[in-house]
């Protein structure tokens, strides 16, 4: 039997004005197990707390009921008080007689009657409370960042600067991601490479950062603070530690017809290549699909010219296994394939390009050395049509487009239009838009400059058809404000393709047990309050893998994710919330209902041997809750048909005791 103390707070007159606090204390005395009951002006004050501590000692109390304000206000306070008094902090229950009683009921008799019932409910519950101790687990002080674009780089740099080791796993041979392919950035028009490449170098030189490029995550096990990850580093056939990045091999290789993915296949590189001049790591890589030596053993030119002796045709994939305390997903985005929207003739004409291709065409390091030339004939285009929302906000085209707004297209299109008009004032630029969306610092001003200062023709309407004919692109479109159909003979058409999460995200989410929305964007733990955390503890989100984002947003989210990681890694151990689910193995059927509803993947199944009454043993599948991962929502407790699953702090019998007390 518990020895329960009841403490009724007046809260000045906040409670005492409509609740007869003395009567409540007196009524509580009559409840079974209550050995002490009193009231006081301010229970939360130092004096009030001391009074509780003294009472615990004097009356050997094992459970406390505080009738006071909302537990959301002072539950933590009174738990500490209990700990100071030497009893388990989870032996405290609060009866909310202020917010949910004295403040909402006008007359004393009503308020008093209800306060007594609430006190009795709390007493009934505390009878069944058991001491709870938060589980502790060790934290591995190393973070993994998956994806080496600007999001991953920023997150890794911030974590590394706080003194924790970080690994970046990047699937391409170099870090840099999409931003490395961009020309200028909005709304400042500074060059992307100028601001990105120093960060890439920082990452490479930071002793806390290890870049594992040309690699992918293969397996993830464990839980927050204790992840175990298997990473496959693909063979690049060049010894990374030896290659100096001189680039001689990339000039001598006889195989010249390898599409250059970095330039979106608008030109070619050799079978051995360095993706771009500022690549990090600046190490050559051999494309085994094209290399003559690897395909039929005849060549070996690169090995001959390499003075460092870095070429290794026998190199194999390497498996790296490592423990991490936290994992950040920064897998980024890709433009969708626009071939399905062939009313814009993307597959029919080289002069219909995507915006990302346009970035390469205007980039000084791109296939045209920054001169804006038509891909078909290398001529300078005089009329350019930009089409917005290609595949974005597209609800009807199942599998083709995306229902959401891709967010970045309005701004980069304004940038492109402006850059064209700036460099080539003789070029007419049309932008067809549905809405121009520019919520961001200096964004609308930027867009207006494109219209007002640069003379870009913004037309409210949509292109319906692009017809390549006689070297021109005949664009048929609507101009809704003028109520007419336009026919423009364009030289170049640029499509603002919708963006979608990288294809690697979905299998990664499965490995991480992180949830995803229907568009394959990672879901955040809370859309407003926990935007950089996945619902799965220890998994954090950085950049466009969580939703479309521009660079400033990506970087802020990347740093926010880093802050969360640092907060986690700064702890030696993790104290969990002890109010977690617990399964009674003897009753568990192993049916998986609980695991099906668990939003955190906290439940796994083990085959356990049970000794039967007849001395035989029986192996059964039973649920096992990882207390470090469980967040204590209780969904599993109701899904469980046998009632094997229960929730500490809110046990079935505790809640039913409250029900009984209220309905008495």
């Amino acid at each position: 039997m518990q020895r329960i103390g009841v403490f009724v707070c007046w809260c000045g007159s906040n409670i005492a004005a409509t609740v007869d606090v003395h009567a409540v204390a007196e009524a509580a005395k009559l409840e079974p197990g209550v050995v002490f009951s009193t009231d006081y002006q301010y229970m939360c004050s130092q004096a009030g707390q001391n009074m509780i501590i003294d009472a615990v000692k004097e009356h050997k109390l094992t459970g406390l009921v505080i009738c006071s304000c909302s537990p959301r206000m002072h539950e933590a306070t009174f738990r500490k008080t209990a700990a100071n008094a030497g009893i388990n902090p989870y032996m405290v229950e609060i009866a909310n007689i202020r917010e949910q009683c004295s403040w909402v009921h006008k007359d004393m008799p009503t308020g008093t009657e209800k306060a007594i019932i609430l006190a009795k409910a709390a007493i009934a519950k505390v009878h069944l409370n058991t001491p709870l101790t938060p589980g502790e687990s060790k934290v591995t002080k190393r973070a993994l960042v998956i994806g080496g674009g600007i999001a991953g780089i920023q997150t890794a740099l911030d974590i590394a600067d706080a003194g924790y080791p970080v690994d970046i796993v990047e699937k391409e041979p170099t870090i840099g991601g999409k931003m490395a392919q961009l020309d200028k950035t909005f709304p400042t028009l500074d060059c992307a490479a100028c601001i990105l490449t120093p960060k890439m170098v920082d990452a490479a030189q930071n002793e806390n950062i290890r870049i594992i490029s040309y690699a992918k995550v293969e397996e993830v096990g464990g839980f927050v603070g204790n992840f175990h990850v298997k990473i496959r580093k693909k063979a690049r056939f060049v010894n990374e530690d030896v290659c100096t990045g001189c680039g001689l091999c990339t000039e001598k290789c006889p195989q010249k017809k390898v599409p250059n993915a970095f330039n979106l296949n608008m030109d070619n590189h050799r079978a051995i290549y360095i993706p771009f001049a500022q690549a990090v790591p600046k190490v050559a890589v051999i494309d085994p699909d094209y290399c003559n030596m690897l395909k039929n053993g005849k060549c070996g030119v690169c090995a001959k010219v390499c003075t460092a002796g870095a070429i290794d045709y026998k190199q194999e994939d390497q498996i790296i296994e490592e423990d991490y305390g936290a994992i950040v997903a920064a897998t980024g985005y890709n433009p969708i394939s626009v071939e399905k929207f062939d009313e814009f003739a993307y597959s029919q004409s080289k002069d219909v390009i995507t915006s990302l291709e346009f970035e390469r065409l205007t980039n000084a390091a791109g296939p045209t050395a920054g001169k804006l030339l038509r891909p078909s004939d290398g001529e300078h285009p005089h009329t350019i049509v930009f089409v917005q929302c290609v595949g974005s906000r597209c609800a009807s085209c199942a599998g083709k487009g995306k229902e959401y707004c891709s967010k970045i297209c309005c701004m980069y299109t304004a940038k492109h239009a402006m850059l064209v008009r700036d460099k080539y004032p003789d070029t007419e630029v049309y932008v067809f838009y549905i809405d121009v969306r520019t919520p961001g610092k200096n964004f609308d001003e930027f867009y207006r400059r494109a219209v007002e200062e640069y003379g870009v023709h913004y037309i409210k309407g949509m292109v319906g058809k692009v017809t390549p004919e006689n070297g021109k692109l005949k664009v048929q479109a609507s101009d809704l404000l003028a109520d007419r159909q336009l026919h423009i003979d364009a030289d170049l058409v640029v499509l603002a393709a919708a963006i979608e999460p990288d294809k690697s995200a979905r299998p990664l989410a499965t490995m991480l047990t992180a949830s995803m929305d229907t568009n394959d964007f990672f879901t955040e733990a809370h859309p407003k309050l926990r935007p950089v955390e996945s619902p799965t503890a220890g998994i954090f989100l950085s950049g466009a893998c969580q939703g479309p984002k521009d660079i400033p947003e990506t970087v802020s989210q990347a740093s926010a994710a880093a802050a969360k990681v640092i907060g986690l890694l700064s702890k030696n151990t993790l104290k969990g919330n002890p109010c977690v689910a617990q399964s009674d193995e003897l009753m568990c059927n192993g049916c998986s209902s609980c695991a099906n509803v668990c939003p955190y993947g906290a439940i796994t199944y083990v085959n356990k041997e049970f000794r039967m009454p007849d001395r035989t043993t029986k192996v059964r599948r039973v649920a096992s809750v990882n207390p470090a991962v469980c967040q204590g929502c209780g969904a599993c407790t109701v899904a469980c048909p046998s009632g094997a699953m229960d929730l500490n702090g809110f046990k079935n019998n505790q809640i039913m005791a409250e029900v009984d007390a209220i309905c008495k």
Partner: protein, 265 residues
């Protein structure tokens, strides 16, 4: 394999070549076409209005005749195919429409016993070539390949749209006619207007519009290098031939097929 065949009015009159060659080629390729007895005009155009029932009855009759024969239905004319396929989809998906139609058709004297709910599989002749015969087999059967012929495929509207229902090919970047052209040894010419409207339905109402639209199609095809257009639609053919201000020849795809298979008289 046996199919219920719906030729349609135009193929019995003005577009006899389309019909005759379709039958002959099928024979050569091992397909048996069984003409649906006492078929009636498909209605010419599928009225998108859900409450328009009368003009869709004959299509339902043809479909249920095929169902009763236990055979898929095949048609050659794009317009017939479009009407029949859309009607079939409406009978499957639009319960209210289907119950109206069935209520009427199962009345005594209407000659239909069982209500119809879109059970019949509907093929266009081209789909038959692609999915049943296989273009590889077509290619193997070719005796006189049309080598060197630059042929533009003209899809028009009816074969492809609405794509959700017609489901023949990608509505914006179709391949089926191009693959057909390759199979018979020709060289397909891709041009953007191949799936744009020729204005055929306006040929009575507004000749000028029909002329404008068909000329645009023909011009775009010839500028992109086509020597010849193929089509599956008699109305398109008529309109392109008659109203288009461009001499680019337009032929039915079955005629070219017959030529390639060496059975053209």
């Amino acid at each position: 394999m046996k199919f219920s065949y719906f030729p349609g009015c135009t193929l019995k009159t003005k577009a006899k070549q389309l019909d005759v060659y379709a039958r002959k080629c099928a024979e050569v390729l091992g397909i048996t076409l069984e003409e649906i007895p006492a078929w009636q005009c498909c209605g010419g155009v599928f009225n998108a209005s859900r409450d328009e029932i009368a003009s869709k009855l004959s299509a339902v009759r043809a479909l249920s005749a095929a169902r009763d024969a236990g055979q898929p239905l095949v048609s050659v004319c794009s317009a017939c195919h479009n009407v029949i396929k859309q009607t079939n989809a409406a009978m499957q998906d639009d319960g209210e429409f289907a119950s109206h139609v069935n209520h009427y058709l199962t009345q005594p004297g209407q000659g239909q016993a069982e209500p119809y709910y879109g059970e019949t599989e509907v093929y266009h002749y081209l789909e038959l070539l692609r999915d049943v015969v296989g273009f590889d087999k077509v290619k193997a059967a070719v005796k006189h390949p049309l080598t060197g012929k630059k042929i533009g495929a003209y899809y028009g509207c009816l074969l492809l749209r609405p794509s959700g229902v017609m489901a023949m090919d990608d509505p914006e970047n179709p391949q089926i006619l191009e693959d057909f052209i390759r199979a018979i040894g020709g060289e397909p010419v891709i041009y953007a207007m191949r799936n744009e409207c020729c204005g055929g339905y306006m040929t009575l109402e507004d000749k000028a519009l029909a002329a404008k639209k068909s000329t645009a199609v023909l011009d775009n095809a010839s500028v992109n290098g086509a020597d010849l257009l193929v089509t599956a639609c008699p109305l398109c053919k008529y309109n392109l031939d008659k109203n288009g201000k461009n001499d680019l020849p337009v032929v039915y795809f079955t005629e070219l097929l017959a030529e390639a298979l060496g059975i053209k008289e």
